[in-house]
């Protein structure tokens, strides 16, 4: 039994089931991120935890107490909304203490709690202002202050950073992480941004079409994605997925792929169990950072495969240069060092770290190996 238990929970609107049998158990102090494209059901699930939407079947429990049908204000949760949802008619101070006031907390205690939170979030100079007089980042802080002051069991964040500009978003992300590290609170955080998910979470639930596709630590999700959806959704640029045939050569399984010149090239697998797929088609997944120039190859890797192929496009991005080639008819992106010298059209020696390769079943798109 966890701190927050989501057991067999479904949600239907009429005959349409939008959330299918979700099972997640969150331990105390965990930072769970629900990530997925829009319409995947992540916000619905969050609203169900908050009590803003009903549970069609299954059970949500906090600290072992079933929350089905319990009013949002009695769940001891706090929520930070995407639009901040600050009360525009109240000052920052009133916004922060409104919840305490509604719960009948005496005024001196409210003031003390507010002062503590305001100092923690560095908004103590803004307490007399109205939300309309604040910048986006300041509103974000006030919204977090309003959640923090309640000292709830579970914090719920509904895409809290998506309204901020790019630089501020990165700063606030770090701050949320710091806050979690110092307060050790239990957080459920919804986002569509896979970088937010990777950086903030202790565990990630990747959702799509109402199903939890994979639940695991950021490293699990990144290195061993459960299926093609998770593999391509997490990571930027996305994992390269290309059709390949498993062939045996010198007694070892290889992935046979076709280069730009139409030649079949063999890349040796280091994953166990691939021999069982000999002679069959698979989908081969390779992260861009596993495709490098020879000097940039991972020295710790036990299986570096060399492949010379024609460069299609180069995209210098400052820290790295992304180089695109064609393999098995697909564009395949590799991540090179910034100062690598490549020009489109030239033949270039790519090195592929096959230790990091992932194989998927082409029919079910589920992971076969590793």
């Amino acid at each position: 039994m966890g701190f927050l238990d989501i057991a067999n929970v479904t949600k239907s609107y009429g005959a349409v089931e939008v959330l299918h049998r979700v099972d997640i158990s969150v331990a105390e102090g965990e930072f769970l991120v629900l990530v997925g494209p829009s319409g995947c059901g992540k916000s619905t699930l969050l609203n169900m935890i908050a009590g803003l939407e009903g549970i069609t079947s299954g059970e949500i429990a906090i600290k072992g107490r079933a929350m089905n049908g319990v009013h949002p204000s009695r769940r001891n949760i706090a929520m930070v909304f995407q639009s901040y949802a600050l009360y525009p008619n109240m000052t920052v101070a009133q916004n922060i203490t409104f919840g305490l006031e509604m719960h009948g907390v005496p005024k001196p205690e409210r003031e003390a709690a507010m002062t503590r939170v305001a100092a923690m979030l560095q908004i103590d100079k803004l307490l007399d202002r109205k939300p309309g007089q604040l910048s986006g980042g300041q509103r974000q802080r006030v919204a977090m202050g309003r959640a923090l002051v309640r000292n709830p069991d579970v914090f719920l964040f509904d895409e809290p950073l998506s309204n901020l500009d790019a630089k501020l978003r990165v700063d606030m992300r770090t701050e949320i992480k710091k806050l979690h590290q110092s307060l050790k609170t239990t957080i459920v955080y919804v986002t569509h941004d896979q970088i937010e998910a990777m950086t903030l979470s202790t565990r990630i639930a990747v959702m799509n079409k109402g199903y939890v596709q994979q639940l695991g630590t950021p490293k699990d999700i990144y290195d061993t994605p459960a299926n093609v959806f998770v593999a391509t959704f997490m990571g930027s640029p996305a994992m390269n997925i290309l059709p390949a045939r498993v062939v045996m050569q010198d007694g070892a399984p290889h992935a046979a792929v076709i280069d730009a010149a139409g030649q079949t090239r063999h890349l040796r697998f280091s994953q166990p169990g691939m021999a069982g797929w000999a002679g069959r088609e698979i989908l081969l997944g390779i992260r861009p950072e596993a495709i490098t120039d020879p000097e940039g190859a991972d020295r710790k890797s036990g299986n570096i495969q060399h492949l010379s192929n024609t460069v299609v496009v180069t995209e210098p991005a400052g820290a790295d240069t992304f180089v695109t080639m064609t393999l098995s008819g697909r564009d395949v992106v590799g991540r090179m060092r910034a100062d690598v010298t490549v020009t489109p059209g030239q033949s270039f020696g790519f090195t592929i770290n096959m230790d990091k390769a992932v194989a998927f079943d082409p029919d079910t798109e589920a992971r076969i190996a590793p």
Binding site: L52, H71, S73, A85, L86, Y87, P88, F98, P131
Partner: protein, 293 residues
């Protein structure tokens, strides 16, 4: 070094500007003419009206017609002036406006933030009530007022105007609250505020503009109503509009036009007053800052 155009459709040279202002001035004067006639004739002795030019300024200025219209003119059979009826109208219009506005706000709140099965149908029916002509309501309403024991009383008139105004006030508030971010209501729910607390602490304080619109609309309509007033009021509960009609109709002998003019202005003053006073509070942008726009 030509100045950047300000984006007006017509060229704004000196000649065009003068032409526009002269035209506007002529129209303004034309529209103000009736008010001028009423004001001028309400402050001159009757002799100057019957014997002379309606448009002329008074030779002798007098406030006698105003005093007469207010306190001594013959209304129906009683020489009471318009004062008791003015008070009747105030006693009718203030509660009627307050109740219908508050109920409209509650309806709008429920119809947008506490949606239930069939709410759009219900709203459609309420909207439909805006288009029901007054005349259709008269007889059923008379019967209903009789059954409730409110026939011929000021509370009866309040009831009629609240019922009739509810469709409009609900429409105004529903449309205003439809644009109101639902996340605010959800945040307040999580904060522990209940149905009425969310309404009084969050929604109502942000409803200034629409309250002003509704109050102006309801006040003007109810104050100016004649049909319900004449149909459902007794001798003691007649509103101002009915009394004004009686003042004009009941004069025997010479018609005291100056008194009639003064009475008509008296009857129009409150709506003018409400418009001028509350119009100043008709400010936009009260929603600024609640959510990122």
């Amino acid at each position: 070094m030509s100045a950047v155009s300000q984006g007006t459709a017509v060229s704004n040279g000196r000649f065009t500007r003068v032409l526009i202002h002269v035209t506007l001035l002529v129209f303004a004067l034309f529209y103000l003419l009736p008010l001028f006639v009423m004001l001028v004739n309400s402050v001159k002795p009757l002799g100057e009206i019957t014997g002379g030019n309606m448009m002329a300024l008074p030779k002798v200025w007098t406030i006698q017609p105003w005093l007469e219209a207010w306190s001594t003119a013959q209304i129906g059979v009683q020489p009471t002036g318009l004062r008791p009826y003015f008070i009747n109208s105030i006693e009718m219009v203030v509660p009627a406006v307050a109740i219908s506005t508050l109920m409209g706000a509650l309806n709008g709140y429920v119809l947008t933030k506490w949606r239930f099965r069939g709410d759009t149908v219900l709203f459609g029916l309420m909207l439909f009530s805006c288009f029901i002509p007054f005349q259709i309501v008269l007889i059923p309403m008379a019967r209903l007022l009789g059954l409730m024991g409110l026939a011929g009383t000021v509370p009866g008139l309040i009831f009629v105007h609240v019922v009739y105004g509810l469709g409009f006030t609900t429409l105004y508030f529903r449309n205003y609250y439809a644009a109101f971010p639902t996340e605010l209501v959800r945040a307040a729910q999580i904060d522990g505020a209940g149905f009425f607390r969310i309404f009084t602490r969050i929604l109502l304080p942000l409803s200034g503009p629409i309250i002003v619109v509704t109050v102006i609309w309801q006040f003007t309509n109810i104050w100016n109503d004649f049909l319900f007033g004449s149909s459902f009021s007794g001798q003691a509960s007649q509103p101002m509009t009915v009394a004004l009609n009686n003042l004009v109709q009941s004069s025997t002998g010479v018609k005291a036009y100056n008194v009639h003019f003064a009475g008509a202005i008296l009857a129009a003053l409150p709506t003018l007053f409400v418009y001028i006073v509350s119009g100043r509070f008709f400010v936009r942008g009260l929603m600024a800052g609640s959510v990122k726009g």
